[in-house]
């Protein structure tokens, strides 16, 4: 044991001599690579003196309280102290080797170095003192304990500064001190100090500050930053490919030169993009954010990294929740803008419910209202005065209200107004000019007001930071065609007479119509004033005219009478189950079928003839029979091939009155529906039967040729 102690002691003295030598000739010493490895072992070695010294301190100060022999305690303390000194010396040597690697120049480093050296020598000194005096006594003298404590303090200081070198100066208290990220003021931001530097500060300065400058690069000062480090300047031009900074940032994380080094906090994608964008734009230290062109990605990245700029802090207290709830009604809504925000937004609905108190009741929360919509409300003079109380108002909508220039004076006194909408009000250019003096105004809407276009343009030129929106102005240049007029009634069939009403959705349209089948025009056709009656088969054609518009498209409707109504009628063969309407009655209900043959007003027969019989209690004379059929060749719906009309006094005595084959129009010319008119003269008819046969098969040259055709009938007229 003694020999080991002696050996260690001798080695200790040797180390200490070496340390002194090193310190004296530090600047001329060059550390070879193999010894640099020892230097790198410094973070490993430093743990040993820490533990050993703490143990020594514990035993030295409180050892006599233990239940062991004091001789043992003293031996332990001696050994521990010796090992402390020895390992401290080794640590210091390693530390000195490490420091020669370069990059350590700042005050923190100096503190660390000298406290470390002090630790080594002081512990050796204390060891000597122990041997000299303490061994001979039963208890350790107080000086010894004080010495141990001092040593402990020096150790803690060395440790603190060392950690500061590795992790950053305020590493210890950083969690408690909190991130002092001030909210970014986008309007006043300067790109480098406000956007780029905080990233460097957070992720790079630990190793690239005056205290510790790895690679000879210091990033805390703009001049030094421009100079760069040992490997060269950080950028040469605004090319990001040639920039050393960007290259190192973009290297694969496994690469040894990737910055920040693996294991340290990395830059996020947005932070990386921001730095790249800054270098690409010329790496200027002074340019403010507002000068950067708006389509530069820096703007979006600034928001992405630092948060949206308008998370504003409202500087007024929140209103009482009960008051706010009490102010809500079905016609007035008062709500916070978002959860937990004191700012309120107000909306009014239902102009009939707007009373004198509606606005004045809100003065209870006047300070908190930030956004308000009074659109369409019947505002009064009293409301104008009340409005002056809402000093924190930022957005105000006053569309279609009786607001005029005097209101603009009241509004001009609200300092925080940013957006005002005055569309459809009586505001003139004087009022508008007053409003434009507001400091924070960004948008004004003056559509449908008295302010003329040229005045607006002039004001817009004078106030470039405000958007004045004038909206759509009808310059009389755009002329649109009117849409088609409407003809009522919807059904084409009537019994004896029908009252026809013509209308047009746009007000003030002149309707010109004809009843003789000719095309109407604006001079010769009749002018529609009131509904008129027709009592025979008529084709009504109508067009609309109005000045400032092109004439409308024509609406055409054919009306067909059906004077003789049967008392009973029967379908002698059922219609197709999908299109059975309301049975046989569908054929005489005077209701036209629509475009959709499945609407229940058409009877459909597929490949089979329609066989319908009509019974009249009183004998009638007939002249024509009309069958209204649908035509849609693409859907296999064709007019009938043959129609037979049988008539007589009863079913047995019925004879064939006539047999017609309707004309089959070409597909391009076939109308959507037509009334097949059959002249069939008969006297004293009490029983009438129609046999309507379809095309089976559809003739060649027509769509779906070869297939059986459908027949769709919605009405049969008997005259």
């Amino acid at each position: 044991m003694k020999s080991i102690h002696t050996a260690l002691l001798n080695l200790l003295i040797a180390f200490q001599v070496f340390i002194v030598f090193f310190l004296l000739f530090e600047s001329r010493i060059y550390v070879p690579a193999s010894l640099q490895v020892l230097g790198r072992a410094h973070p490993l070695l430093l743990h040993f003196p820490i533990v050993l010294l703490v143990l020594a301190w514990l035993l030295g100060c409180f050892g006599e309280k233990l239940d062991m022999g004091q001789a043992l305690v003293k031996q332990l303390v001696y050994t521990l102290l010796l090992l402390t000194a020895w390992s401290a010396a080794l640590t210091v040597v390693a530390g000195l080797f490490l420091s020669k690697e370069g990059g350590y120049e700042g005050p923190a480093f100096q503190w660390h170095k000298w406290t470390g050296v002090a630790l080594c020598f002081l512990s050796a000194g204390l060891l000597w003192y122990h041997e000299r005096t303490a061994v001979k006594r039963t208890k350790y003298p107080n000086l010894f304990r004080i010495g141990l404590s001092v040593l402990l303090v020096v150790l803690m200081m060395a440790g603190h500064f060392g950690a500061g070198l590795t992790h950053g100066a305020d590493y210890l208290f950083e969690p408690v001190r909190g991130k002092k990220q001030k909210a970014l003021d986008i309007e006043m931001a300067v790109v480098f100090p406000d956007l780029v530097y905080p990233i460097l500060e957070a992720k790079c300065l630990n190793c690239h500050s005056p205290n510790k400058a790895k690679g000879g690069l210091i990033l805390s000062d703009t001049t030094l930053m421009r100079q760069g480090g040992d490997s060269g300047p950080l950028w040469v031009s605004s090319s990001t490919e040639e920039s050393l900074l960007i290259q190192r940032l973009l290297l694969d994380i496994g690469h040894e030169h990737h910055m920040p080094p693996k294991g340290k906090p990395q830059l996020t994608d947005e932070e990386l993009a921001l730095v790249q964008a800054w270098v690409a734009s010329g790496a200027d230290f002074e340019v403010p954010l507002s000068s950067v062109p708006p389509d530069d990605p820096i703007h979006r990245l600034a928001v992405a990294v630092y948060g949206a700029p308008n998370t504003e802090a409202y500087d007024f207290p929140a209103a009482d929740a009960g008051t706010v709830a009490g102010l809500n009604s079905p016609y007035r809504v008062v709500k916070p803008i978002a959860l937990g925000m004191p700012a309120l937004t107000v909306g009014f609905y239902g102009k009939t419910a707007f009373t004198e108190q509606s606005l004045s009741e809100l003065t209870a929360v006047g300070l908190q209202v930030v956004s308000m919509s009074l659109s369409g409300m019947p505002l009064s003079e009293k409301d104008r005065q009340t409005l002056g109380n809402f000093t924190n108002l930022q957005e105000l909508i006053l569309n279609d209200t009786p607001v005029d220039d005097r209101w603009c004076e009241t509004l001009a006194a609200l300092p925080k107004l940013r957006t005002i909408s005055l569309s459809g009000t009586k505001v003139t250019e004087t009022g508008l000019a007053t409003l434009l003096a507001l400091p924070k105004l960004k948008q004004v809407y003056v559509w449908n007001t008295q302010v003329g276009t040229d005045v607006l343009e002039r004001l817009q030129q004078e106030h470039k930071n405000v958007t004045i929106e004038q909206g759509y102005r009808d310059d009389g240049q755009t002329i649109l065609p009117l849409n088609a007029p409407l003809i009522k009634p919807a059904s084409s069939f009537f019994e004896e007479r029908a009252t026809v009403t013509l209308s047009h959705p746009v007000a003030g349209v002149e309707l010109r119509y004809t009843l003789d089948g000719s095309e109407p025009d604006s001079t010769h056709a009749r002018l529609y004033k009131e509904p008129f009656t027709i009592d025979a088969a008529t084709v009504v054609r109508v067009k609309g005219y109005k000045s400032g518009w092109f004439s409308s498209a024509e609406t055409l409707k054919a009306f067909h009478p059906s004077a003789n109504r049967p008392d009973r009628l029967f379908l002698l063969g059922p219609p197709n189950p999908g299109y059975k309407g309301r049975g046989a009655v569908t054929l005489v209900d005077l209701v036209s079928g629509g475009d959709n043959h499945a609407d229940g007003k058409w009877l459909g027969f597929y490949g089979e003839p329609m066989n319908v019989s009509f019974h009249f209690d009183e004998a009638i004379h007939i002249d024509t029979i009309g069958i209204s059929v649908k035509q849609q060749y693409g859907s296999h719906i064709y007019p009938p091939k043959v129609i037979q009309v049988w008539g007589g006094a009863d079913s047995i005595g019925a004879r064939l009155l006539t047999r017609v084959q309707p004309i089959l129009e070409k597909p391009e010319k076939a109308p959507a529906s037509q009334l097949v008119s059959i002249p069939a003269v008969g006297d004293a008819i009490r029983y009438l039967r129609l046999v309507v046969e379809p095309f089976v098969p559809i003739p060649p040259g027509y769509p779906a040729e070869g297939n059986p055709a459908w027949i769709f009938v919605d009405e049969i007229t008997i005259n």
């Binding site: 308008n310 978002a338 925000m341 909306g347 609905y349 239902g350 909508i397 909408s421 948008q443 809407y445």
Partner: protein, 490 residues
């Protein structure tokens, strides 16, 4: 040899020791599992209790940019190749087959799976660039081309479904299977209606003249949310909301008394059974009563001034047309309806595309542009989010007859175009890019879930926090996906 007595002590000690050992080992396992749990479930110990499963507060989670949405849904699948995604390469390669490398195994619908070849067909309509962003818009949409500086055209939208029902259901409810709450229902649940006298969610349907697919109540359903959140369809015609008026012989005063008594009876029932549908019904009656005054006021189109009629086109006075629905949408939105959904059918051009596209475009072009302009001039565009688009796009290859002026296109889910305006969306930009065939997305894809997340974000809602617990798990509009597309936000 030890005696029993001594053994006892040993045994006793052994047992205690055993217990100690067991206690410690179980303790360590327990603590270890808790630690593992807190790693896997990050806020296991935070005491936050996760998202609240109760009703949403009715206030946005953070300051919103938009307060209301108008969604102009073009049902049937608008062809992006004839609207906003012009591809001259297709004209050059007219008639040639779609390269297999581009198609990349995209599944075909049953309608074109039988085709022997997939010949490419170029757009019949010419494209030109408009506005500061130089957006390409086809000649079929001249009015939209004029307002391109107010629009954000997203060309890189993509969906998973290839047929109408799953695709449109996906867009409206966030899932291809039905019976989930629709977008408007989620917004009504999350934010409520601004105006208590009108429903929070209104639906307006118009038929187009092209080949149409139906829209049905599943698309505006409340799903598993309270039935107060379902969409109210306003009909074209004199009676926009069916059965709203008083029956002949009754008047407002007697109706009021009727509703009061009815509410009392319903409350008794509610106290007995606690069925939330009962309170929903009472609320509906109350709202219907208020709607008797508010709806006729809002839907009365006859007093619109001439310049408005000119802006939207004269069709805006004919109830049931798309233009009339747009005008109505503006009026409803102005009066505080949170979500107005329009449907315009007829965009499913499997054949006869150039003709049908012309008529369809004529129906919607002027009115949609007018809606944006009208909102803007009233200062409402910043707080209203207007969306225009369909449920998927159309293929670059032809379906059916191929002539330069008569061709059709099949469904294509992998890329299509949609535009958004107002509501805090950056105006005058084009986002996303497709390849030269408009078949695959090359840059910035936006999935339907991302689209939904962005819409909710603009309304001040965190799409991951607006949830509802149903059948044992929390549901949300974006289901389990969706990231907000920050690049298109102001």
């Amino acid at each position: 040899m030890k005696k029993d007595g001594m053994l006892e002590k040993e045994v006793e000690q052994a047992r205690l020791y055993e217990n100690r050992r067991q206690f410690l080992s179980r303790l360590s396992i327990g603590i270890g599992s808790a630690a593992l749990g807190s790693l896997l479930i990050p806020d296991l110990f935070s005491g936050k209790g996760g998202d609240s499963d109760g009703p949403a507060p009715g206030i946005p989670h953070f300051a919103p940019k938009a307060k209301r949405v108008i969604y102009l849904f073009q049902s049937g699948g608008v062809s992006q190749l004839e609207s906003f995604d012009g591809k001259p390469k297709l004209r050059e390669m007219m008639g040639q087959d779609l390269p297999e490398s581009v198609r990349g195994g995209q599944r075909l619908t049953g309608m074109t799976a039988g085709q022997a070849s997939f010949p490419l067909v170029g757009s019949y309509y010419d494209f030109a660039q408009y506005g500061k962003s130089g957006a390409w818009v086809s000649s079929a949409f001249p009015h939209m081309a004029k307002i391109v500086d107010d629009l954000c055209i997203i060309r890189s939208l993509h969906t998973d479904a290839i047929n109408h029902d799953p695709a449109i259901t996906f867009f409206q409810t966030g899932a291809q299977q039905g019976n989930r709450p629709s977008m408007g229902a989620w917004l009504s649940y999350g934010l409520g209606s601004e105006n208590q006298n009108l429903p929070a969610f209104c639906v307006l349907v118009s038929k187009g003249r092209g080949n149409g697919q139906g829209v049905y109540a599943k698309l505006w359903t409340n799903g598993f949310l309270d039935s107060v959140h379902q969409g109210v369809q306003l009909m074209g015609g004199p009676d926009p909301v069916l059965y709203l008026g008083n029956p002949p012989g009754t008047d407002k005063v007697s109706r009021r008394k009727l509703f009061d008594k009815l509410a009392e009876l319903n409350l008794l029932q509610f106290e007995a059974f606690g069925d939330p549908e009962i309170t929903a019904k009472v609320q509906q009656y109350e709202m219907a009563y208020r709607m008797q005054t508010s709806v006729p006021e809002v839907t009365d189109l006859s007093k619109e001034p001439d310049h408005i009629v000119k802006l939207y086109g004269p069709d805006c006075l004919v109830p049931g047309t798309y233009a009339a629905n747009c005008l109505l949408a503006r009026k409803l939105s102005e009066n505080g309806v949170r979500f107005v959904q329009l449907y315009h059918q007829g965009w499913d051009q499997h054949g006869n595309l150039p003709n049908e596209m012309a008529t369809q475009a004529k129906d919607v072009d002027q009115a949609s542009a007018a809606l944006v302009t009208d909102l803007k001039q009233r200062g409402l565009l910043d707080e209203t989010l207007v969306i225009w688009g369909g449920e998927f796009g159309r293929t670059s290859y032809c379906q059916g007859r191929l002539e330069f002026n008569n061709y059709g296109r099949d469904h294509h889910p992998r890329c299509f175009s949609v535009w958004m305006a107002g509501g805090g969306i950056k105006p005058g930009i084009v986002y996303g890019e497709t390849d030269e065939f408009s078949y695959n997305i090359v840059k910035d894809p936006v999935h339907v879930h991302d689209f939904h997340a962005t819409i909710l974000h603009q309304l001040g809602l965190n799409h991951e926090k607006l949830t509802y617990r149903h059948l044992g798990r929390r549901y949300r509009l974006t289901d389990v996906a969706g990231t907000v597309v920050k690049d298109i936000l102001v």
